[in-house]
Amino acid sequence: MKRGLKTQIPFFFMLLPGVIVLLINNYLPMFGVVIAFQQYRFKDNFITSLLTSKFIGFKNFEFFFKTPNAFTVTRNTILYNLAFIFLDIVIPVAMAIMLNELRNKMGAKLYQSIIFLPYFLSWIVVSYLAYSFFSFENGFINKGILGPLGLEPANWYFEPKYWPFILTFFHLWKYTGYNIVVYLASIVGIDGEYYEAAVIDGASKWQSIRHITIPLLKPVMIILTLLAVGRIFNADFGLFFNVPKNMGTLYPATDVIDTYVFRALRNSNNVGMSAAAGLYQAVLGCITVFSANLIVRKIDPEKALF
């Protein structure tokens, strides 16, 4: 037995750096969630502060849910994610099928590379791109399009009504290329004999897409969708924080749980309430991930996360 354990020791040494980082970066904060139930007072360091701060039950949560923001940010987070989940299936699947049908394969490669490019840019760069379109004084839309047409310039960064479309556009702009790669990999993996048989039976292109390609892509679509549903309470902080330039006037349309928690910590320094809002999100997120995973495991155990 002792000899047996000895053979395991080198493995423990290899795991050690990763374990240390995970303990500091992930597990300590997990235990730190008790902060949400406390009136946090700093004393010496984070751990002694946690041990000495007063417990106040669910007061921080009450405080959060009494603000009108709780509803707005939860609604925004869910609605944006629902829209993204739907569009992230329809558009990339359609484009992947179309790319696969192109007869000029060099062209298909080139288009794919171009569509994938935005994925590699940071959200800060994307916020610059957005600004170059929507700036009130110099923006391309106001000066390059609306001006020459004799139309009034719009004050994009002060009008919430435009932003659901703008944010959805930049989400798609950045991620469609990535999703196409995933679906294209599955399409290429489909056995050519199915299509051969379909041609012999006189099926049209459209029919073989509808009855062969799409049904065979369904498992991938279902799994990616369920995994996205599992993350429905987590918003893309980079998109919602940077692209609207964190403008207060836009919050009704752009504020999501993640940006709200960040601002509550940064601006009002309300540690208790923002921890409560964060925990509310983490717990809901955990429940949805587990449920989604359960369903994925029922469909295809191989694809389940755990």
């Binding site: 053979t7 395991q8 080198p10 493995f11 040494f13 290899m14 795991l15 750096p17 990763g18 374990v19 980082v21 500091i24 970066n25 992930n26 904060p29 997990m30 730190g32 969630v33 902060i35 949400a36 502060s49 049908e101 192109l102 007869r103 000029n104 288009y111 590379s113 994938f116 490019l117 935005p118 840019l121 940071s122 800060i124 760069v125 610059y128 791109l129 170059s132 700036s135 004084e137 110099n138 923006g139 000066k143 702009w173 290329g177 990999a185 041609v199 012999i200 902080f237 940077n242 330039k245 993640d258 928690v261 960040f262 921890a275 964060g278 925990l279 983490a282 955990c286 991930v289 996360l305």
Partner: protein, 303 residues
């Protein structure tokens, strides 16, 4: 039916092919236009911008913005250096941490595989949230306002460990590792001299993924860094978008050159920084694309 004839029968008609190509050309324009617009603005003479706004074709070509960024923008050069340093250090360290963590998980002779797999994958499902995480780095492991705060939090992540583990399992036969052991090589020697050389494609994938993550990161400086000298290029850009004066307020060169604020080609310089920040990505794009697709396909095997 011969193979060639079949292929012809299965192909879309020439008309459809033309239509599809037109659609993709339009989509490609949508993808590239915003990037080209920013590049065009960065090469436009400042006066023209103030008169006519941003345009996709510069009314008057000028490289003054780049001249300014290179000569007076010492804040920008320094932040560029920080980004390079963080990216190199971070990529090397995270590749090491991830590979060393993934290797035991791929070995059937390691008995505590399940526990340690769970230990890393659980972090993908549940997190303590921003506030306790922020407190840990500012009140316990006090690396806030050091270069390490931009490296440590991204050293390991469950998805990359999963890719690496799958890759090791797929490309290094268990028998090879066992036979090395029988020949008397220790686990470390087996790992470094036999396994590691076989992992080059997997390492390239993980390396490029984390390289991109570090280069494009602005979140860690946003949350943790207050010292100006430590701002990376992304965070400097973030600051510059809200206030163009950020470029000059910390610049010693700017004062030395005896320039005044009105000389500052602000609008175009801002865009020039964005162009400079995406430069390395565009240059390495061929690599990035190849290995990302590889990583995605490996990752797709599990998860």
């Amino acid at each position: 039916m011969s193979k060639r004839k079949f292929r012809l029968a299965n192909e879309i008609s020439t008309g459809s092919n033309v239509v599809l190509n037109i659609i993709f050309v339009l989509i490609s324009i949508v993808c590239l236009f915003p990037i080209l617009l920013v590049i065009a603005i960065s090469f436009t003479e400042e006066k023209q911008i103030l008169l006519h706004g941003y345009n996709i074709i510069p009314r008057e070509f000028s490289i003054k913005a780049y001249d300014f960024v290179l000569s007076a923008g010492d804040a920008i050069m320094r932040s560029y250096g920080i980004s390079i340093l963080v990216t190199i250090l971070g990529t090397i360290l995270s590749m090491s941490v991830i590979t060393l963590y993934a290797y035991p998980l791929a070995r059937s002779s390691f008995r505590y595989k399940n526990f340690f797999s769970f230990f890393v994958f659980f972090t993908m499902i549940f997190g303590g949230g921003l506030v306790p995480w922020f407190m840990v780095y500012s009140q316990l492991v006090r690396i806030r306002d050091t270069i390490w705060i931009m490296i440590v939090p991204y050293l390991i992540n469950g998805f990359y460990v999963m890719i690496m583990r799958t890759f090791i399992k797929g490309s290094v036969p268990e028998a090879l590792m066992e036979s090395a052991k029988i020949d008397g090589a220790g686990e470390f020697r087996t790992f470094f001299s036999i396994v590691l050389p076989l992992l080059k494609p997997g390492l390239a994938t993980i390396g490029l993924l984390s390289c991109l993550g570090y280069w494009n990161d602005w979140y860690l400086p946003l949350v943790f860094v207050t010292k100006r000298e430590l701002f990376n290029i992304q965070y400097t850009m973030y600051q510059t978008l809200s206030s163009i004066q950020f470029l000059t307020s910390g610049s010693a060169n700017f004062a030395e050159l005896g320039k005044v604020l009105s000389d500052l080609p602000g609008e175009s310089a801002r865009m020039a920084i964005a162009v400079i920040s995406i430069g390395p990505i565009i240059f390495a794009y061929g690599f990035f694309q190849k290995y990302f697709i590889k990583g995605l396909t490996i990752g797709a095997v599990k998860g």
